[in-house]
Amino acid sequence: MPDPLVSICGLAYRYPGATEPALGGIDLQVDPGEFVVLAGRSGSGKSSLLRACCGLIPHYHGGEISGRVEIAGLDARDHGPAELGGAVGLVAQDPESQVISTTVRAELELPLEIRGEAPPARARAVEEAALALAMPHLLDRGVDTLSGGELQRVALAAALVLRPRLILLDEPTSQLDPVAGDELTWLLRRLNEEWGMAVILAEHRLERCLAVADRVVALEAGRLAFSGTPEAFLDWALAHDVALATPGARLFELAGLRPLPRGVKAARATLAGLRVATPEPRPASEHDNGPPVLRARDAWVELDSGTGARDVLRGIDLEVGRGERVALMGRNGAGKSTLMRAAAGLLPTIRGRIEAPSGCALLPQSPADLLLRERVGDELPGVEGTAALERVGLGAKLDADPRDLSGGERQRLALAIVTAGREGPGPAGVVCLDEPTRGMDRARKDELGAWIDELAAHGAVLVATHDVEFAAAFADRVILLGEGTVIADGPPDEILSGGWYFATEVARILDTPGAISPEAGASLIAAGRFRHVARASGEAAVAPAVPATPIALQPTDTGREAEDVGGVIPEDPGGGVP
């Protein structure tokens, strides 16, 4: 057995001034070439553990540390981040703060230059890193002209350029659209396989990365709660903390199937030959509640990010009715934020109109930008302000410093700031939330979903999000933008099951139009299984309840039997998928 690359024994750590330890009693070993996914709720200690693995803890952050951390044979307590930098690279969540130089090439050259590499060796290493990440075209671009996804790729390349033996990633996909997020995950797997580099990836959206993981390590309140294979982790998560289970695992659990799938491919292998019913088409939900609260008519918006003006919205036509919960989706740069900013009156249209007759409140991507005072009560002064704070559950925290609030509380405070005073005697207008689930665990997303319901009861809610699973959970309508135009608009069942990138994990597993949630998918599996049995015994096909006990399912060759039920049951649920 090779020596472990990471060896942590009895690690405990407390940030300076903190009352509670961020990490406690951590024992962990990571072997060379291993791909480890770090799971856990917000505040469970994932980021702290990553910082301890690269020497930022304790050398940069200070605080109290005990136990032993060895990275590539170097004791992280004696060797700082610069010394460990040859063996370990870190990619953090916010790409803007991780890029130092003006051009991409200079950014990649910097670590090599600092270590005294000769120019030819530097040029080669930069070229190799750029090719590995498919970004040679970015090398001579200024970093201020890059999108968030491109910046994240540059930060990864800068961490890889020294060919470290270990790469640490702290929620690198949180700001990326599903396409860029999937690309990054599979890129990491390729680097892991081809370069033999060990990876520790902290991530909330586990359905994106379990398929590529060798092992999952789960943290709970700064302590190691689980370490094992992805399949074993899913079993553990369903038993201990269902918020950490993937939609695919919940689908299998509800359908009574085993083994739990680490990804779409594993799920399809288990489901091969199993019948899945096709859902009955549902009548489209009607929102005939008077005039629309948001209306765009042939709206064109132009932006200039320094490289010349370009049309970001190109003739958008849409209406949002009162009571609607709309998910606005699309790739980075598709125009989601621009549409919301134009609706809130921050950007003018160069042609056409965007109107919100009853007003539009926008919660920007970074709610902290709205928190300017040092006391919660000072953000919304007066009796009406206090009432607004009470409505969002912050009535007891009027004297708290906004920076001391939890992430969810800060978001609620920011929401109160943008909406307070807008509610008139009549129906309130539209509330736009721009990427509200960034860095959130599922429990907080559920909490957010509950507010969205509440907000939609008074007006309408438009949420720009890359989080397909969240959109499936809260929205009753999904609008997909592409290059500034509406490319799809309809109910979530239809939009989030008809493609690959903008589709939920359940939709990708079942590849059946209309099945996007674990509950719906489990019902279809159960109904398909029942219809097959019913057809075989000549009884009427009535959809059964979801079975309660798990069934160990072996793939069987039942394709011929499936033909008997005349197209209701697909012969191969995995067919037609690229």
Binding site: C54, L56, H59, Y60, G80, P81, A82, E83, G85, G86, L90, E96, S97, Q98, V99, I100, T102, T103, A106, L110, P111, E113, I114, R115, G116, E117, A118, P119, D140, G142, D144, T145, A158, A159, S305, G306, T307, R341, A344, L346, A361, L362, L363, P364, D369, L370, L372, D378, E379, L380, P381, E384, G385, A388, I417, V418, T419, A420, G421, R422
Partner: protein, 301 residues
Amino acid sequence: MRPALAYRHRPGPLGDGSALAASLFCAAPAGAALVSSDPIVLAGALAAVVTAGLLAGARRGLALAARWNLGLGVILIAVNGLTSQRGDTVLVHGIVMPLIGNVDISAEALGEGAVLAARIGIICMAFAVHATTVDPDRVLRLLRPIARRSALTATLIARTVPLAARDYARLGEASALRGPLAAPAGRAVLARRLVAGSLDRAVDVAATLELRGYGHGAPGRADRLRRSRHDTALVGSALALFLASAGARLAGLADFRAYPALRFDAGAWTIAAALAMPLAAAAPFALAALRSRIVGGRSRA
């Protein structure tokens, strides 16, 4: 919208030249303005910096620097006019100013202020051309082996200033989103929030620098003097520019005296030196264009 003074790579002698040569070229008109106060030489230095800026594609940076300096220049002229009570040509007599009392405004005092404003303006415009056309990474790379701590500070500033500009734009936008009941976001509140945020940003950037290995030891000097094909022209032009001003001064030409009456040299040699400056500034660009044309002609043939 990208800030007017932000660096963007522009192909050409300044964009592609080595950091040292490009910096010398940009410093030459500033040096000329420092050594000479003759209005004709200053006009030549101004023409040189404008020529270089326009040919290098730094029009927005130049325009911004010119706008700032116009305001500053007016203030300098006014202050000098009010505070310097010398000069034979009194334009306005006996203005009663609070605290100062009776003041005269002379043409000489205004002229001296204008010359001072022109010198500062030329230096600022030369730095604007440098900031927008010369890659700061290459300048910092030049500095790092000789002034490590200063280079670290400059690196932090070079990164945190654009981040702060972006943060300020975001904060401004967020303040426009506040509901009617929210406390208003004044400039002071925004500035305080920006400073607090910038400190956090600086800490993050410093952590990244640490991870990139900044604490590892002195960087190598291997390519500190990496050269470019434009360097000879840039350095030659910089020398010619500076010598036109310094030579005229050393030769006793290009003399300027504000008091007791405005007097400056407008002889043929001074005018020739002033005319030579924009020509020297244009030379590297003309040579590069000529070379491209010749190479293009050969490849077509």
